[in-house]
C-alpha cells in the first residue's frame, strides 16, 4: 500500500447496537475503525454473527449508527439529510447482495432492473440511449445484449449475480460493497464472478469492500483484510501479511480451520483452538487496534504490543 493513496472511506469508532437499552441489546458492531483506500479491495472476514454484514449496511447508510462516524470522500454520511444528498451518495456507493435469487424482482425485466438506477438519476436522455447503456452493461458483465427483455427466472445463479453486478455498475459508482457475492454460487461459477469483479475494478478504477466468510476467496481478491469477531475488528493488514503471519490468535484459529483442496496438507492440518475469553476488556486498559509492524494492526492493550511485536519478529 503506497503512502500516497487517498482514503475514500473512513470508518471511525463505529458502533451499531440493536435493541438499545432493552434486555436483549446486541452490540452487533462495537467500536470498529478502519480506512479503505481508493482503488483497493478491502476484505472483511468473520463468521456468522461477527458483525461484518452490519458494518457493510451501516456504511451504505441502511442503519443509523449508534455512535461513531463514517466518512465517505471526506464527508460524514450521517450529515446526509435531504433526498438529493442521499441520491448523490448512493450514486457513488452501490451494493451487490449475497442471494442472486432474492435480490432481483421476479416481475421486472432485466433491462428495467439494470436501468432502475439510470432512471432514478436521469442518466439517459431517451429510451434509445437507456437501452444502449443497459445492453453495454450486460455485455460488460458477460451476458448477451438480447437478454435485456428476459425475466430473472430465465437465468442461472451465476448469471443473476452478473445482473446484480450490472445493476450496481449502471450509475458508475466509485465504491461497491459486495456482501458475500459468491457464497450462493457453485465452485466453477464462483471463480468466474470473482474474476469479473477483478476485471471491472481494473477497467473502472473501482474500490471494493468485499464481505465474506470464505477466507481463501477473500485472500485471493483482497489487497487488505480486516478480521471481525463478536462485533470487533481484531486484526487489519495486507492480505498476504494476515495470512502468512497472523498475529491475533483468532485469525490464526480461523485460518487453521479452512479446508484446503490438498490431501497432503489436510493430513497434517492441526486446528488451532481459540478461546474468546482473552478478548474481554478491562476497565482503564482498553483494547484498540495498534500497529505492530507497518500496516499490520492488532486489537490489543498497550502492554500486549510488545508481545505481538515479538510474535511478528519470530515470523521472519
Amino acid at each position: 500500500m503506497s503512502e500516497k493513496q487517498r482514503k475514500i472511506l473512513e470508518v471511525k469508532h463505529l458502533k451499531q447496537y440493536f435493541n438499545v437499552g432493552k434486555a436483549d441489546e446486541v452490540k452487533a458492531v462495537d467500536d470498529v475503525t478502519f480506512d479503505v483506500y481508493e482503488g483497493e479491495t478491502f476484505g472483511l472476514v468473520g463468521e456468522s454473527g461477527s458483525g461484518k454484514t452490519t458494518t457493510g449496511r451501516s456504511i451504505i447508510h441502511l442503519y443509523e449508527p449508534t455512535a461513531g462516524n463514517i466518512l465517505f470522500e471526506g464527508k460524514d454520511i450521517s450529515k446526509l439529510k435531504t433526498k438529493t444528498d442521499f441520491l448523490s451518495f448512493r450514486r457513488e456507493m452501490q451494493m451487490i447482495f449475497q442471494d442472486p435469487y432474492a435480490s432481483l424482482n421476479p416481475r421486472m425485466k432485466i433491462k428495467d432492473i439494470v436501468a432502475e438506477g439510470i432512471d432514478i438519476h436521469h442518466l439517459a436522455k431517451n429510451d434509445a440511449e437507456r437501452s444502449k447503456v443497459v445492453e453495454d452493461l450486460l455485455e460488460t458483465v458477460g451476458l448477451n445484449r438480447d437478454h435485456s427483455s428476459r425475466y430473472p427466472h430465465e437465468f442461472s445463479g451465476g448469471q443473476r449475480q452478473r445482473i446484480g453486478i450490472a445493476r450496481a455498475l449502471a450509475v458508475q459508482p466509485k465504491f461497491i460493497i459486495a456482501d458475500e457475492p459468491i457464497s450462493a454460487l457453485d465452485v466453477s461459477i464462483q471463480a468466474q464472478v470473482v474474476n469479473l469483479l477483478k476485471d471491472l475494478q481494473r477497467e473502472h478504477g473501482l474500490t471494493y469492500l468485499f464481505i465474506a466468510h470464505d477466507l481463501s476467496m477473500v485472500k485471493y481478491i483482497s489487497d487488505r483484510i480486516g478480521v471481525m469477531h463478536y462485533g470487533k475488528l481484531l486484526e487489519v493488514g495486507t492480505a498476504d501479511e494476515v495470512y502468512a503471519h497472523p498475529l491475533h490468535d483468532y485469525t490464526a484459529s480461523l485460518i487453521s480451520a479452512v479446508p484446503v483442496p490438498d490431501p497432503e496438507y489436510e493430513r497434517t492440518r492441526k486446528q488451532i483452538p481459540y478461546d474468546a475469553a482473552g478478548e474481554q476488556d478491562h476497565p482503564g486498559n482498553p483494547r484498540k487496534l495498534r500497529e505492530i509492524v507497518p500496516g499490520h494492526f492488532v486489537r490489543c492493550t498497550e502492554e500486549e504490543v510488545a508481545l505481538y511485536k515479538k510474535k511478528a519478529a519470530a515470523y521472519n
Binding site: 461459477i189 471463480a191 481463501s216 485460518i255 483442496p261 490438498d262
Partner: protein, 347 residues
C-alpha cells in the same frame, strides 16, 4: 480385500416435469467398501444428491428409476417396498442433511428424537433408549448432556444441532452413513469440529460414509476415495490422492483450478454453465466448456479408461490415439506432488 457393502450399477433416474423428462442420473456406477469414506463431488444439478436419495428410497414422486440396481449386501434396494425401506432407513443406512435447522422436529425434545430410532428399530424400551441417547449425546460433544437432553432444538446453536442430527443418524450404528453437505451451513471453525467428530465416530462405530459435497477442501480432508460427478454422470473416480494429485478428466482439472488455495495468485474459471439435462449432450457432457475438447467428445460418450487399479476417468484424452495435451500449470504442479508421494510409497 475389503468387504463390499454397497454396489450401485448403471443407475438411471429421470424426473418427469412439465417441460419434459429431466435425465438427472445417466448411467452411474460406484461401490462402497466397509469402513471407507467415499466423497461424491459435483456442482448443483450434477446428480449427487439424487443419487444418495435413491439409496434411501427417498426420491420425489415425479422421479422414475429407469434402469440399474443398488445392491446393499445381497439385496436390491430398488426392489424394496416402502414398508421394507422403513426398516432399512435409519437402521442400516442413515442420513445427515445439509440444514441442521430444518432436519430436527421443533416440537419434540431432542432426547426423544435421538431415542426414537432405537425404540422403533431395535425395540428397546423407552427408559433404556433415553439412557443410550444420553450416552450418544455425550459422545457427540454436547456439554451438560443430562440437562440438555430435555431441551428443544431451538435451544441449540447451529453447530450443536448438527451434532444432534449426527447423534440421531448414528444411534442404531448404521452400516452406511450418508452425509449430504453436512457442514455447508456452518462456519469454518464449527465445520472443522464437526468433520473431526465424524472421523472419530467413524472409527468408533466402523460405519462407511458417503460424503456429498461441492467443497474440494472438505473432500481432501475426509475422503478415502472420490467420485467426480458432472451432468448426471461420474466422470472420474479414484483414491483421494489420485483425484487431487493425478487428475485426468478436464472437468476435474477445471474444478481444482478454480478453487483458491491460500497461496494461489490466479484463478482459472471454467467458462459457461452445465448442460441442460432435459436434452443432455450425447457425447462427453463437459464438451461445451472443455478447452481440450476434441471432435469425438461431441459425438460419443467416452468409456472409463483405466489409470490404475483404483483410478478410472471417462475422457477421450486417455485413448491411445488421442493427442498429448498439456494440462493447466496447477495440475502439472499437483502431478509433481503425486510423483513424490508415489516415490515415497515405493520406499
Amino acid at each position: 480385500m475389503a468387504e463390499r457393502i454397497l454396489d450401485v450399477k448403471n443407475l438411471k433416474i429421470d424426473f418427469h416435469t412439465y417441460a419434459g423428462d429431466v435425465k438427472a442420473i445417466r448411467d452411474v456406477s460406484f461401490h462402497l467398501d466397509k469402513g471407507e469414506t467415499l466423497a461424491i463431488v459435483g456442482e448443483s444439478g450434477s446428480g449427487k444428491s439424487v443419487t444418495t436419495k435413491s439409496l434411501m428410497g427417498l426420491l420425489a414422486n415425479n422421479a422414475e428409476v429407469t434402469g440399474g440396481s443398488i445392491m446393499f449386501h445381497d439385496q436390491d434396494i430398488l426392489k424394496k417396498s416402502e414398508k421394507e425401506m422403513q426398516n432399512i432407513r435409519g437402521k442400516d443406512i442413515a442420513m445427515i442433511f445439509q440444514d441442521p435447522m430444518t432436519s430436527l422436529d421443533p416440537t419434540m425434545r431432542i432426547g426423544q428424537q435421538i431415542a426414537e430410532p432405537l425404540i422403533k428399530h431395535k425395540h428397546v424400551d423407552k427408559k433404556k433408549a433415553w439412557s443410550q441417547a444420553l450416552d450418544l449425546l455425550k459422545l457427540v460433544g454436547i456439554t451438560d448432556a443430562e440437562e440438555r437432553i430435555k431441551n428443544y432444538p431451538h435451544q441449540f446453536s447451529g453447530g450443536q444441532r448438527q451434532r444432534i442430527v449426527i447423534a440421531i443418524a448414528l444411534v442404531c450404528y448404521p452400516e452406511i452413513l450418508i452425509a449430504d453437505e453436512p457442514t455447508t451451513a456452518l462456519d469454518v471453525t464449527i465445520q472443522a469440529q464437526i468433520l473431526e467428530l465424524m472421523k472419530e465416530l467413524q472409527e468408533k462405530i466402523e460405519t462407511s460414509i458417503i460424503f456429498i459435497t461441492h467443497d474440494l477442501g472438505v473432500v481432501a480432508g475426509m475422503a478415502d476415495r472420490v467420485a467426480v460427478m458432472y451432468a448426471g454422470q461420474i466422470v472420474e473416480y479414484g483414491t483421494v490422492d489420485e483425484i487431487f494429485f493425478n487428475p485426468q478428466h478436464p472437468y476435474t482439472w477445471g474444478l481444482l483450478n478454480s478453487m483458491p488455495t491460500l497461496s494461489s495468485t490466479k484463478l482459472e474459471a471454467i467458462p459457461g454453465t452445465p448442460p441442460d439435462l432435459l436434452d443432455p449432450p450425447k457425447g462427453d457432457p463437459f464438451v461445451a466448456r472443455n478447452p481440450y475438447a476434441m471432435k469425438i467428445d461431441a459425438e460419443q460418450r467416452p468409456p472409463f479408461f483405466k489409470v490404475s487399479e483404483t483410478h478410472y476417468a471417462a475422457t477421450w484424452l486417455l485413448h491411445p490415439n488421442a493427442p498429448k495435451v498439456t494440462p493447466p500449470d496447477e495440475i502439472i504442479r499437483r502431478r509433481q506432488t503425486f510423483k513424490d508421494i508415489m516415490a515415497h510409497k515405493a520406499i
